[in-house]
């Protein structure tokens, strides 16, 4: 059996067990009116800062859970299949952001490696979009994720997490990743709530932009947050 977690180095708090629920203080309940769960997936290579980003905007301490899936992409249909070498256990972290009385956004940190493709296609169907978090020291880690998202037609932005690593010009990063010119590339410090929040806003603005044939009323061609983010790039 194969197993993976998004990031041991930044592992989520496992939280208390089910017996007592002393976590209710750290896990405030949703409003009774909450009725629409939304998903954004944060993908990235090992140590790219996925959980850091989730933590910085989440209203709950990031939680972790796991899913067991077979290579065919279906969940196992018998628990005995857990012993099957074709079953893979994928652990993922998540956080939560209450947006308003009805909408609740869940942020999932997902491993970006090629062998988890089935997780992408199955587990995160219906996501608003994805943030590809890249570490400029390890751009290779992101190729597969970007290719997969493009094929899947999922709106995404690429966020370059500030690690104090090599300081490449944005165009160099675009070239290295072979990014489509339409895909926003933003800079962020995943440790900062304000920075992570702007990455999410950039993604949702991009998603709105992606569906010009929907019942769009207000899109005026401007992507203010992207403009703002780009101004911050001295490169």
């Amino acid at each position: 059996m194969d197993s993976a977690t998004s990031d041991p180095a930044e592992a989520a708090d496992p939280g208390p067990g089910p017996d007592a629920d002393p976590d209710s203080a750290r896990r405030p309940p949703l409003r009774a009116s909450a009725d629409n769960g939304l998903k954004i997936v944060v993908v990235g290579g090992f140590g790219a800062g996925k959980t850091t980003l989730v933590r910085s905007v989440s209203e709950i301490c990031p939680l972790s859970t796991e899913e067991t899936m077979t290579r065919a992409g279906e969940s196992v249909d018998d628990v005995s299949a857990v012993r099957d070498k074709n079953a893979t256990t994928v652990a993922f972290d998540f956080g939560r952001v209450t947006l308003d009385a009805h909408n609740v956004l869940y942020l999932f940190g997902a491993p970006g490696q090629e062998r988890f493709w089935f997780l992408w296609d199955r587990l995160f169907t219906g996501a608003l979009g994805a943030v590809v978090l890249v570490d400029t020291r390890r751009l290779d880690d992101s190729w597969y994720a970007i290719d997969r998202l493009e094929r899947h037609g999922t709106p995404f932005v690429v966020a370059r997490n500030d690690f104090g690593g090599p300081d490449f010009a944005p165009q160099a990063v675009r070239d290295a990743l072979d990014l489509d010119p339409d895909v926003p590339l933003v800079h962020c410090d995943a440790r900062l709530r304000s920075s992570s929040k702007r990455v999410l806003i950039a993604l949702v603005e991009h998603a709105k932009h992606r569906y010009p044939h929907s019942r769009s009323r207000s899109y005026d061609g401007q992507v203010p947050v992207l403009d703002e983010l780009n101004k911050e790039l001295p490169r």
């Binding site: 041991p8 496992p14 089910p18 309940p29 409003r31 769960g37 998903k39 859970t65 796991e66 998603a207």
Partner: protein, 131 residues
């Protein structure tokens, strides 16, 4: 999973047994669900389906079912239930299917059109900007 939790913890580089289900034998999971694991193709639950209890736990109820009813007095997402119960998502969905079938919980499924609905996307933007 037959390897001891310590070994898995070492492999993960984290604390042993800190992942849901990792310290559970498949046999325990089998018992919980009567051998089912998810999710017949028709399983309606999404990771972010919000589950709400429609009744109180009753004596004699399977403890995991009772725990779910306590946890869902307010709307709670499937993935949060799985994490707090420390059960794999697939097993959690099986338990929820039972509760849904007997009317003990209701489910608020995500609106599928939200992904491309500019009104919903605008609501998300407003919510994010107000954070």
């Amino acid at each position: 999973m037959s390897r001891p939790p310590e070994q898995l913890g070492g492999q993960l580089g984290g604390k042993p047994g800190n992942r849901p289900g990792r310290d559970d034998s498949p046999d325990r999971l089998y018992t919980l669900t009567g051998g089912r694991s998810r999710s017949a193709p028709g399983n309606p639950f999404d990771l972010v389906t919000l589950v709400v209890a429609e009744s109180d736990p009753v004596p004699g109820m399977q403890s995991e079912h009772a725990a779910i009813l306590r946890l869902t007095e307010r709307p709670t997402a499937v993935v949060e239930l799985a994490a707090v119960l420390r059960l794999p998502v697939s097993i959690t969905k099986v338990l929820l299917t039972d509760l849904l079938a007997t009317g003990r919980v209701s489910a608020r499924h995500p609106r599928r059109t939200a992904v491309t609905d500019p009104d919903i996307l605008e609501q998300v933007l407003v919510g994010l900007r107000n954070l």
